[in-house]
Amino acid sequence: MLEVLDRARLVVVTGKGGTGKTTVAAGLAVAAAGRGRRVLVAEVEGRQGLAGLFGRAELEHREVRVGDGVHALAVDPDESLREYLARYGFAPLARLLTWAHLNRFITAAAPGLGDVLLVGKVWEAATRELRPGSAAYDLVVLDAPPTGRVVPFLRAPETVAELARVGPIRSQADRVRALLDDPGLTAVALTCLPEELPVAETLEGVAALRRAGLPVAGVVANRVTGDRLGGRAGRLAALAGDPAPLAAAAAAAGADLDGAALGTLVGEARDRQRQVTRERRLLKELRGGLDGLPLVELPFLAGGVAGPDEVRALAGHLGPASAEARAPRRARRAAGAARG
């Protein structure tokens, strides 16, 4: 994933529902920021999933700084519609729509328009320039809809533009497509769990994205159980029958563990090892189906991912912070300005 974090303009994070899309999007954003890039992470499904990961109660349709080098945004369809209409000279109409609660009708009359607006907003942020040649963000990370919906979502501008051969809709769709289809600018990452259905759905998702011509960059396997025991797990079956070696060690160390306690410990370790074995098998199957695409594993965190601390820990697995980025940001920016 490292290469993508350093190079891409837009990283789209998708995956089966419940596989940790939002967590991985936040982790990728923090990892890229740790490597010195100015990052915007955006969610589009109105779930407010990102807010808590950055220690906030709520995010709005407004880019706010949520960490060192990271801004966050919750894209709102109604706000996007207003912005969109205003941009094309329909500001009074936008006010009328809001007044008459007619936004829903507009999106029903032109299905996919809602997605067009969301994708358009993300495209706008990813290509925005503060002044010519100076991008507002180095990277936009999009917490996108789940695998089953992501292709129609990303292709919505195209779909709606089919009905318009010329005009603003057409030209915007062309520009969005130019960004999304360029593997040098855009990277789609899929999240997965080491479980049967998510693995199958991830492989189907990769195939569907490729068929749609979207640049798939890799898969992040989330919540992978750590293999603490390795080869020693082979001893567990024998120890379950006869825990004498462990009893001897416990006695020698002065640990108060009777046969029942040792039985519990060995039993729990065996359950966990079965889990590890099953996950290994599924990850191997996944890797085999990925055809050389990068697969990054994130460890299962026993306490869950509650906030910025856990996100930082996961970001470390997605891409180590660069030495340069560890230098104070302001100094670097000054140096950059001097160079420029």
Partner: protein, 382 residues
């Protein structure tokens, strides 16, 4: 180990809130986010009720392939098919159906059309085809529509349905209203044909506005689509009342005490947050919330505390000592995990008064056959 196993299978002191539902409810709706075992839970509830003697049908949206095969659902069909239950005696039976929401909407149109010609015109309309797949909640509402139809047929004692694995699953609660509002919207019909509907003079302001809006929609979507929208509304004329009345009946049935919503979750943060959202949403719409099922609960056995000094000594005692030290750490991790899960479940229950909860331990294997569903049932109904 044996002690731990015994603790896991011990029956809880209170009866499972699901047992009562499976015995008496007429409709059970399972909702929850993706990947929490919703389809499997729905299938296990249905199988349990069938083997308990009730004529049962399970409607699923997107079952895992192997589970679908176990239920004989290799094909998408919009009619229930019997599931073979080897060795089953007694009055119970199990049918299963994989719901084709699209087809259901078409059937509803066919039912309410004045004549086949009107139905054909609507079904062929491009705007209808898009509307039926994009308006939020429409597909989910169609699942409820099918549910109601089966309920009315009185072929079953119990219907179990699972909803799509998205937050929008409960958009069906808004869908009839959205649909009615849309079909009924004077403003929208004005937009379609401003020239005819708006007379001279006093509505000139509105006329200007709708003309601007028409221009915008034309610019966004192309005029062909707009023409189709007009045709759609013309074709739909006269069907509004039937639609509205039906939506009211479906709603009354969902709110009826013989219906129960079951919220399914896993004990991780996002899934429980979604469960809280679902529970709140159902309460706001006065839908009968039956129980919360939390799948894949971790449990740690009882092990005396081993102080840090003894652990350090263990680490210096060669391979056996190091292994035991590692086993203790794995146990600590499991305890942390189990405690974090219980805390999260308690936090959720604190926000939903009087909700019965069933906790299902993490099972060693995926459930993909009838035997697996029965095993799961033992935990759900213990």
């Amino acid at each position: 180990m044996t002690r731990q196993r015994a603790a896991r299978t011990r029956a809880p002191a209170v009866a499972s809130p699901l047992a009562e539902l499976a015995r008496t409810a007429r409709i059970v709706v399972c909702c929850g986010s993706g990947g929490v075992g919703k389809t499997t839970t729905a299938a296990a509830v249905a199988l349990w009720a069938a083997e308990g003697g009730r004529r049962t049908c399970v409607l699923t949206i997107d079952p895992a392939r192997r589970l679908a095969q176990a239920l004989g659902l290799d094909l998408l069909s919009n009619a229930p098919r019997p599931v073979k239950l080897p060795g089953m005696a007694g009055p119970g039976s199990l049918d299963a159906m994989m719901l084709d929401m699209r087809r259901t909407f078409d059937e509803v149109i066919e039912r309410y059309a004045r004549d086949p010609d009107q139905a054909d015109r609507i079904l062929a309309n491009r705007f209808y085809r898009r509307l039926s797949s994009t308006l939020a909640g429409t597909q989910e509402y169609m699942a409820m529509e099918k549910l109601y139809e089966l309920h009315e047929s009185q072929r079953y004692d119990l219907l179990v349905v699972d909803t799509p694995p998205t937050r929008s699953a409960l958009d069906f609660l808004d869908a009839p209203e959205n649909l009615n509002e849309l079909l009924d919207a004077r403003a929208f019909r004005l937009l379609i044909a401003p020239a005819q509907r708006i007379g001279r003079g006093y509505l000139r302001g509105l006329n200007l506005a709708t003309t601007a809006m028409t221009k915008m929609v034309r610019r966004v979507s192309g005029s062909e689509l707009l023409a189709e929208v007009g045709e759609f509304f013309a074709a739909f004329e006269g069907m509004y009342d039937g639609f509205k009345e039906r939506a009211g009946l479906v709603y009354d049935q969902l709110r009826h005490p013989s219906t129960a919503f079951v919220v399914v979750a896993t004990p991780d943060g996002p899934a429980l947050r979604e469960a809280a959202y679902f529970a709140g949403r159902l309460a706001a719409d006065r839908m009968p919330l039956g129980a919360l099922v939390v799948n894949r609960i971790h449990r740690a056995g009882t092990v005396p505390r081993v102080p840090a000094a003894a652990r350090r000594r263990l680490a210096d005692l060669g391979a056996d000592g190091r292994l035991l030290a590692d086993l203790l750490e794995l146990h600590d991790g499991l305890e942390t995990l189990a405690a974090a899960e219980q805390r999260r479940v308690r936090d959720l229950l604190a926000t939903v008064p009087n909700l019965g909860v069933v906790q299902v331990p993490l099972l060693p294997d995926d459930v993909h056959d009838l035997e697996g569903l029965r095993r799961l049932g033992r935990y759900l109904f213990a």
